[in-house]
Amino acid sequence: MISTGAFPYLLGLSAFLFTIGAAGVLIRRNPIVVLMCIELMLNAGNIALIAYGRFLNSVEGQIFAFMVIVVAAAEVVVGLALVTAIFRLGRELDVDDLSEMSE
């Protein structure tokens, strides 16, 4: 059982993970790693939702987190399919190289 005192740490953890994820999206160049960083951001949101839900003694946060897990899975499916499709077209996997169209 988590005590109320752990709550700030949980929120801190989720903010920390969110920051790592956001920084990763901006810095990393491999689309698969970028997808993982997006997952990290979504799961940081999940931790915050569940922690708040526990703290507020309401189930809404947990239900929300379940929805997010499903949505995140759907997004990754499409993302990996696209990465595969681009790989088949014979391209290097680097988001900086995805610049067929320019300003």
Binding site: V34, M41, G45, L56, S58, G61, V68, V71, L82
Partner: protein, 504 residues
């Protein structure tokens, strides 16, 4: 220790009334499933049938919306306060369904020519529209998140629909990565707002904010993060970077759809969340929204000046238009005309922008998309009616009377002036003047003789569907520019019945 027992929620089931209120969305969602199954039995040569079926589902859903418009009265909440059944949602639904119907009509011809005629296309259009309609009615953070993801995931796939074309795949991946990034912000913002207010339903959040006296910084962070997430979807500066690439890379018929429908849905939810749920913290989010609106108008209009691709020009013009619409959102907590202006602008933008994109969709030849400015040169001598329609759409986007675009801008700027934000209106008027240059540049190009040494673009022959869509959008642009009261009174009724207010 926290209390051990989680309160047991009594088992409640939605009533028949809840289901009936959701009828427009249910019809489209059912249409999605039916089309996926039909795709298995319809022979490849007869894929146009799927378009006809999709159109039927959209028409049925539109009928349900019309019924809902009269039935919803002053509005009520469905599913224990999660979804709004009000005139506001029905107004947005009608705009979305008309957009989807127009896109479905021009699609078969375009997709055939590009060799992309797969059945999933129509199913995905219906799925995306369902998500957008749910978003228009969403009254719970959970429904907002799910609806945004439903429309986004469908649009990611549609953007990458041209499987063997690098540009299309690139567009889809960019859209997905940046869209997912935005979802991360949106979700984290929702988690913070939920945590600080204790509720996920907008009505309860609004009530909680109204009674609380001190404003928690975490709550404000949540509000701003939600705004960032929605601003990505509405392609507002500085969250617009994906827009030109995705619009250019995606198949033109898909661009037609998402340039309009995504924006309509994103602004619909933005008004419901920011104007009617967060008015208590208006003083804190006002400045940021103002800045984003001004930045969008400036960056969109200035970047559009230097483009040589029609799709990119329309993408930047869309960013600027989003800035104008955001003026309406920014002033609406203090001025109801702001919300009415947003609704009018969205309707006007929908018909005009679909018209403009429909021209380059239906005129696209067999090989390359009709995208470069050079491809439009001399269009008026070969297809005088199409060129005249395109000219009208460009004038409307530029805000000339008597077209739809003029009154969209007029109401939004009037709302800004009425609420005392004259500087915002002045920014809008000044940047509109800039926009005239690039709209007229394209319009004039169509009336120039093609250069002798340059071969003319091979425009495709007009078809019945394409002509019907151009005729409908032309009529819409003129009706919204001349018979203003028609849509204005509907928008005013929609604003009057917007739900979280009725509950307060």
């Amino acid at each position: 220790m926290l209390a051990q027992a989680v309160p047991i929620v009594p088992l409640v089931t939605p009533s028949a009334k809840d289901l009936l209120g959701l009828l427009p969305e249910l019809i489209l969602g059912g249409g999605f499933v039916v089309l996926m199954l039909l795709d298995l039995v319809v022979p490849a040569r007869r894929r146009a049938w799927l378009a006809a079926f999709a159109f039927l589902f959209i028409a049925a859903s539109f009928g349900a919306c019309m019924w809902g418009w009269f039935d919803s009265g002053s509005g009520r909440a469905l599913y224990f306060g999660s979804i709004a059944y009000d005139k506001y949602a029905m107004f947005i639904n009608a705009v979305l369904l008309i957009s989807a119907a127009l896109v479905v009509i021009i699609s078969p011809q375009y997709l055939n020519r590009r060799g992309l005629h797969y059945g999933e296309y129509y199913a995905l259009i219906l799925a995306a529209t369902t998500g957008m309609m749910l978003l228009a009615g969403a009254m719970s953070l959970m429904v907002i998140f799910l609806a945004i993801e439903l429309l986004s995931v469908s649009l990611y796939i549609l953007s990458g629909f041209s499987r063997h074309e690098e540009r299309s795949q690139e567009a889809a991946l960019k859209y997905l990565l940046l869209g997912g990034f935005a979802s991360g912000f949106l979700l984290f913002g929702m988690a913070l707002v939920y945590g600080e207010t204790g509720h996920t339903q907008l009505q309860q959040i609004e009530a909680a904010l109204r009674v609380s006296t001190n404003v928690d910084p975490l709550l404000l962070a949540g509000v701003i993060l939600i705004f960032i997430g929605l601003a990505f979807k509405a392609s507002l500066v500085p969250f617009h970077t994906w827009t030109p690439d995705v619009y250019q890379g995606a198949p033109t018929s898909v661009t037609t759809f998402m340039s309009v429908a995504t924006k309509v849905a994103a602004f619909a939810v933005m008004v419901r969340v920011f104007t009617y749920t967060f008015p208590a913290v208006y003083a804190h989010w006002q400045a940021i929204v103002f800045l984003v609106a001004i930045a969008s108008m400036l960056v969109g209009n200035i970047a559009a000046l230097t483009q040589t691709s029609v799709k990119r020009m329309l993408a930047y013009s869309g960013i600027a238009q989003a800035g104008y619409i955001l003026i309406g959102v920014a002033v609406s907590p203090s001025e109801p005309l702001g919300t009415i202006g947003v609704l009018y602008y969205l309707a006007a933008y929908a018909v005009t922008n679909i018209g403009a994109f429909a021209v380059i969709t239906v005129m696209a030849g067999r090989g390359e998309d009709l995208d470069s400015y050079a491809g439009l040169r001399g269009l008026a001598y070969r297809r005088p009616y199409v060129a005249a329609a395109m000219g009208l759409f460009l004038l409307s986007l530029g805000g000339f009377p008597p077209t739809a675009g003029f009154f969209g801008k007029f109401f939004v700027f009037a709302a800004a002036i009425k609420s005392g934000q004259t500087s915002l209106a002045l920014w809008g008027i000044a940047t509109s003047a800039v926009s005239v240059f690039y709209y007229l540049r394209v319009a004039l190009l169509m009336y120039q003789r093609p250069a002798a040494d340059q071969p003319e673009y091979q425009w495709s022959r007009s078809t019945f569907g394409g002509s019907a869509v151009l005729l409908a959008t032309t009529a819409g642009t003129l009706v919204l520019g001349i018979l203003v009261t028609l849509v204005y009174s509907a928008a005013a009724a929609a604003q009057g019945a917007l739900l979280p207010v009725a509950a307060g």
